[in-house]
């Protein structure tokens, strides 16, 4: 697989504070990488370096075969960026916002209505962006990042704080972009979303990548499978029994509960990415 992004020993510090501390990774073309970490872990600084907003103080980033530090102007023609938090021209309509960026990218025959419809904003394109809800603004931001049919799409917390419909609309677009062959760099602290969308995930903590693999491999490597059984105790109160799966004692433990207690529910549980992150770093994502 060709690599769309190669990061080698990327480093950036704000004074003495190391924001990104020599991280390296590669992302294949058409791959979705979930970049996960708590606030202040170095996610945004990494994205800023990869998109040319910040010049790395150490190491290098190669996008589509070109060093971003040396060739930023030409690389930016082929990337799309959706920032965390709305940064739209709120006095302009949705369509005007998109048309402006289409001109900046020199997109010929730009079909603004089709793009508006693609993100589910039909009929609202003539409204000022300032009058949009948070979800609508986010969808417009995603649309803006797609204007130039980017080869690499950077999405920074694209569904953070959105209603389920807006979030699902954005996830659908991400899926369509993958189908088209775009590489997606997905920054999020929503582990469920990362698990669902990403081919691989990278955990970043205190400026360093502490794990990088497929969600399945990480779960196998760090997670544990368990059986959660809810039972009623002698006083009629609900109690939860957790039994680790894949141990020699598992069958006898299950039999013992089934025979001696009043079982209400029983379901299997596998480790989430959040569990694994906590296990690796000793801290949560929020």
């Amino acid at each position: 697989m060709e690599h769309a992004i190669i990061a080698e020993e990327l480093f950036y510090s704000y004074g003495k504070q190391k924001a990104v501390d020599g991280i390296s990774f590669q992302i294949g073309q058409g791959e979705i990488l979930g970049f996960l970490g708590p606030n202040g872990a170095g996610k945004s600084t990494t994205v800023n370096m990869l998109t040319g907003l910040l010049k790395p103080q150490g190491g290098r980033a190669v996008l589509l075969g070109r060093d971003i530090s040396r060739d930023v102007d030409s690389i930016q023609k082929y990337i799309g960026v959706c920032f965390e938090g709305a940064n739209l021209y709120e006095q302009m309509t949705g369509e005007e916002n998109l048309k402006l960026f289409a001109r900046l990218f020199d997109v010929k025959n730009f079909d603004v209505k089709a793009l508006i419809a693609r993100v589910g904003l039909e009929g609202r394109g003539k409204d000022k962006a300032g009058n949009y809800s948070k979800g609508m603004k986010q969808r417009l931001m995603v649309a803006r990042s797609l204007i130039n049919r980017p080869e690499i799409l950077f999405l920074d917390e694209p569904t953070d704080g959105l209603d389920p419909a807006s979030a699902e609309s954005i996830r659908r677009v991400i899926g369509e972009e993958r189908e088209r062959g775009a590489t997606v760099f997905l920054t999020t602290h929503d582990m469920m979303e990362a698990d669902k969308l990403s081919d691989r995930v990278a955990f970043i903590n205190q400026g360093k990548i502490v794990a990088l693999d497929t969600p399945h491999s990480l779960k196998q490597q760090y997670g544990k499978r368990a059986l959660n059984i809810e039972v009623l105790d002698g006083e009629g109160k609900l109690q939860t029994r957790e039994i680790a799966l894949d141990t020699p004692d598992t069958p006898s433990q299950v039999r013992e509960i089934m025979a001696g207690e009043k079982v209400v529910t029983m379901h299997s549980e596998e480790a989430t990415l959040e569990d694994i992150f906590i296990k690796i770093t000793g801290r949560g994502l929020s």
Binding site: L54, D73, F83, Y89, F101, L104
Partner: protein
């Protein structure tokens, strides 16, 4: 309302205001700027006349002249030195007496003398200089004598061609128009930074140089257009049109450069307005020198807008030409380059 609650609110607001770096800086800068302007201006009414003299006179006569109230005599070796001092504003005017002045006066031969003053010398000082000459002749001869006076005005003589009050305001209005557009540009750029739309721009093929160029052209264009419309409407383009247009263009470029500085300093519209007004106040000072001649002195030349105001005033009101005013244009271009470079550098630093 409980006085304690009111006190607590006041204390909280004061604390918040002091923690706001913008308010703190503007407060301090405002105080420093206004204090500095105040201190730079003359602290007392100066009724003495600084008077130059090129003459072979006995020291006793000069001492006698200086003994009178309201006169400070500066002796020069040559007329050239005297003219330089008058042009530079060091003295209000001066007299050059011929070498045989004393001999001629004492023998009763008709004498003549040359009187020099600048075009900016007020009429009352000019009269005083003429009286001074008679006083010297009287001191030497001991009786009133008629002295023929050859007057030379250094610079453009405006005597007999007074400027209408509204025309004296022209440069001030033009500067206000240009500087108001400075605030518009600063506001545009500041809003880009504040709302982070600038980040969205910076990940497109538009780079930072393109951004500055676009903003610079916008700001310069808006300021230039409005200033030209104003000057055209009031008839300010009737004389020295090319020179006036170039001056307005340079002024508009200056507005763009200062706009970058103000945008970098401001965080939002209110802070942009505050910084902008500060610049407007300082940059308006030279215009008051046109309205009230003699009210400002040499230090006003340190304010970049002086060269804008002076060029417009000289070209529009007195028909001065390229040959007279090119040094002003050079100064203006130099200040513009400094503002543009400094403004871009500071905004880039702010963008990280």
């Amino acid at each position: 309302m409980n006085p304690g609650i009111i006190g607590a609110l006041i204390q909280k607001d004061l604390a918040l205001a002091m923690r706001n770096r913008f308010f703190a800086v503007v407060l301090v800068l405002g105080l420093v700027a206004y204090t500095a302007i105040y201190l730079f201006m003359p602290s007392q009414v100066d009724e003495d006349i600084d008077f130059g003299l090129v003459a072979q006179l006995p020291p006793a006569i000069i001492e006698q002249l200086e003994a009178g109230e309201g006169l400070r005599v500066h002796v020069f070796d040559s007329v050239d030195e005297l003219e330089t001092a008058v042009r530079g504003g060091e003295i209000m005017g001066g007299l050059s007496l011929p070498d045989d002045f004393i001999a001629d006066i004492t023998s009763g031969v008709p004498v003549s003398a040359s009187l020099y003053y600048s075009s900016a010398t007020p009429e009352e000082y000019r009269s005083a200089l003429s009286l001074m000459l008679s006083e010297i002749a009287y001191t030497i001869a001991g009786k009133p004598l008629s002295v023929e006076v050859n007057t030379t005005v250094l610079g453009r003589d405006t005597t007999g061609s007074p400027i209408a009050p509204r025309d004296t305001l022209l440069p001030l209005f033009a500067v206000f128009i240009i500087l108001t557009e400075m605030m518009s540009l600063a506001s545009l750029l500041s809003e880009e930074i504040e709302t982070r739309t600038i980040r969205a721009l910076m990940v497109t093929p538009m780079n930072i140089r393109g951004l500055f160029l676009a903003k610079g052209i916008t700001g310069t264009g808006m300021a230039f257009f409005q200033a030209v419309v104003f000057m055209a409407v009031v008839g300010g383009l009737g004389t020295q049109t090319g020179l006036v247009l170039l001056t307005l263009l340079l002024g508009a470029v200056m507005a763009a450069g200062i706009g970058f500085l103000v945008a970098a300093a401001g965080r939002d519209l209110m802070s942009v307005m505050a910084w902008g007004v500060l610049f407007m106040l300082v940059f308006s000072v030279p215009a008051f020198g046109v309205i009230f001649p003699g009210s400002i002195s040499g230090w006003a030349r340190a304010i970049p807008s002086f060269y804008l105001v002076d060029t417009l005033n000289q070209a529009v009101n007195y028909g001065s030409s390229w040959g007279d005013l090119w040094p002003n244009l050079v100064w203006l271009a130099g200040f513009n380059a400094a503002f543009i470079i400094l403004g871009m550098w500071i905004v880039r630093r702010k963008l990280g």
